[in-house]
């Protein structure tokens, strides 16, 4: 692992993976992965397609099989915990693939985001708050989610993940398939949410874009962490640039 000297590892991480080996059934995807993210940061994970970025997030959230190692949230061992428990602990997640319920309206989708509350009034209040923050969604709240454009759908997925008012969010390629003007919009939102105190772990295909907003970056290749550093360091690192930024 090549770490530049100025970089300091997270000392008191809110989220960390310690020597995690994980995958799906008999397939191992991550080999001995360790990362740590400090509270209030934006951390960005980059790496080639198929390197295991999504699997890393799924391992944290309980969607992949962890063979060894531990995942820690806020000092607590959460290895193998269900998504339900993670949501209750203030962590939410936006998948890389489309994850709306197509035959439900935008509003019903939002309410599903608050499913773990077991309290419809509370979920409705929170949804109303989020429509104030995302007026575009408020305007289309009676529309079926299956009819939304790519940008609207991504916005709904993001807003739905905010229903639990998370302390920490994982976003897997939030800008995937979006037109450039929406991409800037999404990154602007990420910055705003982070300013309000939400810790962010991003996976970004557009590595330069991702690293430019990140306090901390990780480069994953073939299921192993190859480089860590601040976003700027990785952006300027010659090896990272040559191998992963196409420069």
């Amino acid at each position: 692992m090549a770490t530049t000297p100025e970089y300091t590892a997270a000392e008191d991480p809110i989220l960390s993976m310690d020597s995690v080996v994980s995958g799906y059934g008999n397939t191992t995807v991550l080999h001995d992965v360790s990362i740590a993210v400090e509270e209030g940061e934006i951390a960005c994970l980059i790496g080639p397609n198929g390197s295991g970025k999504s699997t890393l997030m799924k391992s944290i959230y309980g969607f992949a099989d962890i063979k060894s190692g531990t995942v820690t949230l806020d000092g607590e061992d959460i290895t193998g915990r269900s998504p339900q428990e993670n949501l209750k602990n203030g962590m939410s997640y936006v998948l890389q693939d489309a994850s709306v319920f197509p035959n439900m309206t935008v509003h019903e989708n939002m309410l599903m985001g608050g499913y773990v509350f077991k309290d419809d009034d509370r979920a409705a209040d929170r949804a109303a708050q989020l429509y104030d923050e995302f007026p575009v969604l408020g305007d289309i709240k009676e529309q079926k989610a299956g009819t939304l454009s790519g940008g609207q759908r991504r916005l709904l997925e993001l807003a739905r993940a905010l229903m639990v008012d998370p302390d920490i969010m994982m976003l897997d390629e939030p800008s995937i398939g979006l037109e450039p003007k929406f991409i800037d919009d999404v990154f602007e939102r990420i910055r705003q949410l982070n300013d309000l105190g939400t810790t962010m772990l991003l996976v970004e295909q557009n590595a330069e874009k991702g690293l430019s907003v990140a306090d901390r970056g990780f480069v994953l290749a073939s299921g192993e962490i190859k480089f860590t550093g601040t976003g700027t360091e990785l952006l300027n690192d010659e090896a990272v640039g040559r191998l992963y930024l196409g420069g």
Partner: protein
């Protein structure tokens, strides 16, 4: 006048087939499994009521209210059977080859039949409902009272299921799982529990229908197959996963079959219903309500 009688007869039995098919459609739509053991739930429901009466009162007979009082028990028992069927068996073949899933549910249906045969013999059994005046005559059409009760019961069951899916928290989870299982897990739904619950609810309704069948006809261990077959036809007819489609499909199939049986001969019923199905599939490949595939 005779035609009116055939159609009424058809609607009366059609509603029962429809209520069974609704559960079959729900499992197909939500869990993506064609449950070939679905008809056995009708059989088990009928036997549960039969034995509940026989063991508590000494004879499998009673007034209509006594018979209806077995419904909560039957619903509870069959919910558990369906829930466990998914949780213990079907779960293991989820997402594999469709032939494997068919084989497993077919195997379950044979196993349940054989166990029933061992336990209760092949003798048909029925529940005798004591009614002073068993039939109504409305405008020249004879309506057996118990068939009318069964007809209304089938509607109540289907309506209750519909309302449950639309209104309750579990119903929302079921719809979410049917539309996108991964997203359902993402928002904190226990997908396996929800799938098993869907099996449980569908089996409970089939079991409740079994109680009505035991009162107006009889139950015997091999009765399930015809319910599974008809459910299949009705669901393909109405559109996979559609509850209104299954309801309408059941009523239509019932009236067509009774009319064919009455006017021509009962040997023609299957030929006519399958021909109708083929014609419909040519005209409307997704079934009557196919566009609402995941509701």
């Amino acid at each position: 006048m005779a035609l009116a009688q055939f159609i009424v007869n058809g609607l009366l039995v059609g509603a029962l087939f429809a209520a069974v098919a609704v559960g079959f459609a729900l499992i197909w739509g939500v869990v993506d499994i064609i449950n070939l053991a679905h008809g056995e739930m009708v059989m088990l429901g009928g036997y549960t009521a039969y034995w509940a009466l026989a063991l508590t009162t000494g004879t499998a007979r009673g007034g209509p209210l006594v018979v209806l009082a077995t419904l909560p028990l039957v619903v509870g028992v069959l919910f558990a059977v369906g829930y466990l069927l998914q949780r213990v068996l079907v779960k293991r073949v989820m997402g594999t080859d469709v032939f494997l899933t068919l084989l497993v549910t077919f195997g379950a249906s044979i196993a349940i039949q054989q166990l029933a045969l061992r336990a209760w013999t092949a003798n048909p059994r029925s529940i005798q409902v004591e009614l002073a005046d068993p039939s109504l005559v409305l405008g020249g059409v004879v309506v057996p009272k118990m068939k009318l009760v069964a007809f209304l019961g089938a509607f109540v069951l289907t309506g209750a299921l519909w309302a449950f899916l639309q209104r309750s928290r579990t119903g929302r989870a079921i719809r979410a799982v049917s539309q996108n299982p991964e997203a359902a897990a993402l928002v904190g739904i226990d997908v396996e529990h929800t799938r098993a619950t869907t099996f449980g609810l569908s089996s409970a309704i089939a079991g409740a229908v079994g109680v009505f069948v035991a009162t107006i006809l009889n139950v015997q261990p091999q009765m399930g197959l015809i319910y599974t077959l008809k459910s299949f036809v009705i669901v393909v007819f109405g559109g996979v996963g559609s509850i209104p489609g299954a309801l309408l499909g059941g009523l239509l199939l019932g009236s067509v079959e009774e009319t064919v049986a009455g006017v021509i001969s009962s040997q023609w019923t299957l030929a006519v219903s399958f021909s109708l199905l083929i014609v419909l599939l040519i005209v409307k490949p997704n079934g009557l309500f196919g566009q609402e595939a995941s509701e």
